[in-house]
């Protein structure tokens, strides 16, 4: 028997939908503004206050300048380097860590797990971390951004939960057939947690892509900075990042404002593009993590 919705409930539904639409507009508008502004003419943009709906004086100049900008492109390259070398390290180490925490007869497991969880909440602090990097000889090296942070405990726990989800019987029969621990890991468990590995790739990927703070303290040479810190100089601290030799002062002035927007688009585009496709994987990751909680 279907219960008819009351008038009050129908009003609520309508308001709810309207509110959601409003929320979506507010969510999307800033990015829309950026896209529109990046194609606009610089002087027209600074002269027109506030909300705009379409490009003012369409031009691709801001993009052309951004692509020719050495530091920006360098930053891109460095970030890609971090992804190329960091991601495999992240995944391998996290899987090992998760496996270690999930497996049965492991030595020291009772001490290991609490120790690992402890680091999820506390760390030595900013300065000791910095001194640590220095003494390891990683200062000003791109590896300082890859090695120390290789395992995120949160991700390791997600992995542990996923590994624990593999049926006991499969693992046991493998052992009976004479397999060693590593064989079990690589040939039985890994193929079964492919979805989790996809989630790890995405989480670490996004984290590397967006990180800027550690780079600003550990790296001194501007050409070794990854993308976000460069973006920061461009957008926030207004350093004269733009004054590189291959770019003349005049050109820079012509696009002073709009290049900021084109830089934003260039650096966010990969995320923008990949996101819709992988949305369900992200959500899965959160769910797996939530189950643990």
């Amino acid at each position: 028997m279907k219960i008819k919705p009351t008038k009050g409930e129908r009003v609520f539904d309508v308001i709810n939908v309207l509110m959601m639409i409003l929320i979506m507009i507010v969510t999307l508008y800033p990015m829309y503004y950026v896209v529109v502004a990046s194609f606009s003419d610089n002087s027209l943009l600074t002269a027109t206050p506030g909300i705009i709906a379409k490009p003012l004086g369409f031009t691709t100049g801001a993009y052309r300048l951004a692509f020719r900008h050495p530091l920006l492109m360098n930053g891109y390259k460095n970030t890609l380097f971090i992804l190329a070398f960091g991601l495999p390290i992240n995944i391998i180490m996290t899987v090992f860590c998760g496996y270690f925490m999930a497996a049965e007869d492991v030595m020291f497991k009772k001490i290991f797990i609490p120790m690992v969880m402890f680091t999820m909440f506390f760390s030595g602090g900013l300065i000791p971390g910095f001194l640590n990097i220095q003494s390891l000889g990683l200062y000003d090296s791109i590896w300082s951004l890859i090695l120390p942070g290789a395992i995120s405990v949160y991700n390791a726990i997600i992995t542990k939960t996923a590994i624990e989800g593999v049926p006991e019987s499969l693992v046991e029969s493998a052992y009976i057939d004479g397999a060693h621990d590593y064989t079990v890991l690589f040939r039985i468990i890994l193929p079964l947690i492919k979805a989790t590995i996809a989630v790890l790739l995405l989480y670490y990927g996004v984290s590397h892509w967006n990180s800027w703070f550690t780079a600003t303290i550990y790296i001194r040479d501007q050409t070794r900075l990854p993308l976000q810190p460069i973006l920061r100089s461009l957008l926030i601290t207004d350093d004269n990042v733009l004054n590189a030799s291959s770019v003349s002062g005049d050109e820079v002035n012509n696009f002073a404002e709009t290049i900021k927007y084109s830089a934003i688009i260039i650096s966010t585009l990969p995320v923008l593009v990949i996101y819709p496709f992988l949305q369900k994987y992200f959500m899965k990751g959160v769910m797996i993590g939530a189950v643990k909680g």
Partner: protein, 268 residues
């Protein structure tokens, strides 16, 4: 973590940890007497509390409302759209805030529309906290609602049936079935949140603050950064950082204990 001990020393890099003189709690004392101490503590706690007050409930309410949407396709569209800002980097967000806050920017347009005066928003003290919190909600309301949505879908449908048969309206259902159903999740997340009360997101503040508004925006972690990295006061900065961590532990354990007392179950 062993390096954290330099908080109790007068650390000199050239001497290393083994040879730098030990000074016990000297740095902690100087911190408590630092002219900025009250300001830092005040800002850290108020921003943190405001954050909890506004950005903790927001995703919960959002999830509840989202759950009430009838058309599945619309619901999924809203989800896709609202999850997106979470993936934009803080640098970009701060950049956006900066350009929208200029006198000619979008925010001022809205202010002018309601009859207010245009001004450079990020230079003025009264705007910092609202901007900080609102942008945080904008960025994370969607993403943070995922956990709550997951918890919502785990609620037994039969409970809703029973409530309907008893004549409960949708609103009453929400009150008596839905909210108790996700209460465990809310509590867990709340306790975890309490554990970072003092670590108010220093990255975002670092990107947005400036000397004119230090008065309202300087927090413990940003001070740690300035003193430690920019001024190289190693030991002093570590002492402050440690103070920060200890208070966080206290909050974490404290809120866990309170919840345990109240409901019999805590996080640990």
């Amino acid at each position: 973590m062993y390096g954290a001990l330099i908080a109790f020393q007068d650390f000199r890099p050239s001497l290393g940890m083994a040879d730098s003189p030990w000074v016990g709690l000297k740095h902690f004392e100087s911190f408590f007497n630092d002219i900025f101490f009250t300001r830092l503590l005040r800002n850290t706690i108020s921003i943190s509390l405001l954050n909890i007050l506004f950005s903790f409930p927001a995703p919960i309410i959002f999830a509840l409302l989202l759950n009430e949407l009838r058309q599945d396709k619309f619901k999924r569209t809203v989800q896709t759209v609202t999850y997106f800002p979470h993936f934009i980097s803080l640098v970009v967000i701060a950049g956006l805030i900066k350009s929208f806050s200029t006198s000619n920017g979008v925010f001022n347009d809205i202010i002018a529309f309601f009859g207010g005066e245009r001004s450079a928003l990020l230079q003025k003290k009264e705007f910092f906290r609202p901007i900080y919190i609102a942008s945080g909600i904008w960025q994370n309301i969607g993403w943070n609602s995922i956990i709550y949505l997951a918890a919502l879908s785990a609620i037994d449908q039969e409970q809703y049936e029973a409530a309907r048969i008893d004549g409960a309206s949708r609103f009453k259902q929400a009150l008596h079935v839905t909210i108790p159903g996700i209460l465990p999740t809310i509590i867990v997340l709340f306790i975890l949140r309490m554990g970072s009360v003092l670590s108010v997101g220093h990255e975002k503040i670092l990107l947005l603050y400036s000397p004119p508004i230090f008065e309202v925006s300087d927090v413990i972690s940003t001070y740690v950064y300035r003193k430690g990295i920019l001024e190289a006061a190693w030991s002093y900065s570590s002492a402050i950082d440690m103070f920060n961590a200890v208070i966080n532990i206290l909050f974490l354990v404290g809120s866990n204990a309170i919840v345990k007392k109240a409901s019999g179950k805590g996080l640990f």
